[in-house]
Symmetry: C2
Subunit: 208 residues, 2 copies
Amino acid sequence: MHRGQVSNAVIRRMPKYYRCLNELAKDGVTKISSRTLAEYMGLTASQIRQDFNCFGGFGQQGYGYNVNTLMTEIASILGVEKLHKAVMIGVGNIGHALLHNFNFAKCGFEIVCAFDLGEDMIGNKIEGVPVLHPDDLEKFAEENPFDIAILALPKKAAPEMSDRLVNLGIKGIWNFVNVDLKRRHPNIVIEDVHFADSLMTLCYGISE
Amino acid sequence: MHRGQVSNAVIRRMPKYYRCLNELAKDGVTKISSRTLAEYMGLTASQIRQDFNCFGGFGQQGYGYNVNTLMTEIASILGVEKLHKAVMIGVGNIGHALLHNFNFAKCGFEIVCAFDLGEDMIGNKIEGVPVLHPDDLEKFAEENPFDIAILALPKKAAPEMSDRLVNLGIKGIWNFVNVDLKRRHPNIVIEDVHFADSLMTLCYGISE
């Protein structure tokens, strides 16, 4: 199946498979049946086989999957072994939380620079990442091309900043701002982080 | 259909419907066909009708959906009109970001108290939310029952704290810590926030 034909739901399950397989590998599991993996993932075995068939299928039915091979295949599908370059726009609470605690390399990214108006940060480094003034974005990009931007700045500044980033030719935005960028930039990949969707799902769960 | 029979994928789409309908209502849209809503959501019209049928279906086929009615129905299914009580455990970067910027009420929650070891915070309020020492959790809970906890504390402290919270009878945990609480507490609702899943999905998108 061509990548473009794979449904969004299947794509969104791929990082979860990758996470589960990592945990299984850590626990010393080397081989797993689709049934056991299904239980672990909260899916059915048939759904798992269907998901994997979208990418040509991995392993032979009846023999189980090799955990490490499967992990490598999925890492390659996701592209997380590539270390794409990213910049962070806005280093507030969320930005700090990500820089200090989040393992970007594991997700295929390296943060090459951060941009913020805070004079106490400009010129310094946070976890090894240099912080520049947003006015220097275009100049930085000339000499240091990057693939995506992490948008974590105040809402009112987000649309104009997204335009500048798209003009620089970025491929995607990891968007922490509650603003609709998909309609503004239909030709680049926008991945919104919607805390509210997650909390409402919890709300449903406890309302039962 | 009984709530327990509704698939996880359908449940996870409900907050997205709610968000889309809110945006449509803001734009002055009062009525919408399943086809238009489908385009807006990036789904098919048949998938939308199937989703809604899980909850008895809303509106009559061929007549379109009333945006406000549909919004109210979904709010009621999600339980977001109830204002459940929540406590926040750990007020670091993520905690501050949520307290300052996140609209909890819109998701059906009121933060009644936060707990942190930081002496500069204890006894003060952040956005109207009092901060207490974690040692005072059980005493606070005696007089102020709450439904869920937002877990945003250091990883090593998370398992023990989750045990204490579950002992207090909470129904759910909104988990920002990279630790598996589902196997530890199979009887309560755990909603993990996995930043990595989101970033890996973006990684896939730009790798095409």
